[in-house]
Symmetry: C2
Subunit: 174 residues, 2 copies
């Protein structure tokens, strides 16, 4: 039986940071770089982040994380993939997120999508995520996708990867 993988959206499939940097500079005049925000959660790094993610349309046109489309398509043949996004805190992002997935990952069907407010209720064998709050409570194998907010934390419980190429090496046959 195929193993089940939960794949996070923001910070794993969706590049939110490029847009966060751009909007932050537009709205505050301050140009930040990765070093400035290392170790800070998104809402700590960008003062207007919660306003942006609450705005209808924000999640509609964000860039795709490099390499994720090709890798996820290959994984989708060998595993049971579910894309899971912690999204119910911001009701207006829900439809945007789903339409974004349809546009950018058309091989992921609507049956493979979950929007929730707590990932603890979802069961699977492997979880790929950039947040400890999701990975720490997961029972299976956990893969931590490097993002600025988690980059300073050393943690042996999860396998850290810095790119989708590294995920391919971990989960796909040579």
């Amino acid at each position: 039986m195929k193993k089940k993988i939960l794949v996070d959206m923001d910070g794993v499939l969706v590049d939110v940071y490029t847009t966060f940097f751009k909007l932050h500079e537009q709205e505050t005049g301050q140009r930040l770089n990765l070093k400035d925000i290392a170790g800070l959660l998104e809402e700590e790094a960008f003062i207007n982040q919660r306003k942006w993610v609450s705005t209808p349309g924000f999640f509609r046109d964000l860039p795709v994380i490099p390499g994720s489309r090709k890798a996820l398509q290959r994984l989708n043949d060998l595993y049971k993939i579910t894309v899971v996004s912690l999204a119910t805190e911001f009701p207006y992002c829900l439809t945007d997120k789903q339409l974004w997935l349809h546009d950018n990952f058309p091989f992921i069907t609507w049956q493979q999508i979950v929007f929730c407010g707590n990932k603890n209720v979802i069961k699977a064998d492997i979880m790929i995520d950039d947040h400890f709050k999701n990975l720490d409570h997961f029972k299976g194998k956990t893969i931590l996708f490097t993002q600025p907010h988690n980059i300073l934390i050393r943690d042996s419980r999860h396998i850290r990867v810095n790119s989708w190429a590294e995920i391919e090496k971990l989960l796909l046959p040579v």
Copy 2:
């Protein structure tokens, strides 16, 4: 530890049929009653059903199933409740469904909501649902909420209830 209950939306918290009957009569001139549609799935009973549920705004103002608010509020004190809706087939319903929940069940927090395309990935102890496709694969205790589409099926695997008062009797202390 509190037991976990998954509570379906349409047909369990949301009264979809009153509106289906009304729209069907408006659009076709045909007045249907419960007997006419017994045993038929919603999309079989109402020729325009898939058009309606795909339309932005449809899920925003539907009536609440009688007794569900009071009962769910009591259950929410004694159990870990997650409201789970099979909703990702229709991207435009997602935001509407969440706003409806906020309006009508304000004690259900965003952390307690799941929108998905397949309920098999959600784990819990008890499931309340009106569809066999969801109940049949669930590992825990299953409660079938009577609706016209399931009313003709005799099935001993699930506990059939005809109202929220019956759910209260089953799950709440006397």
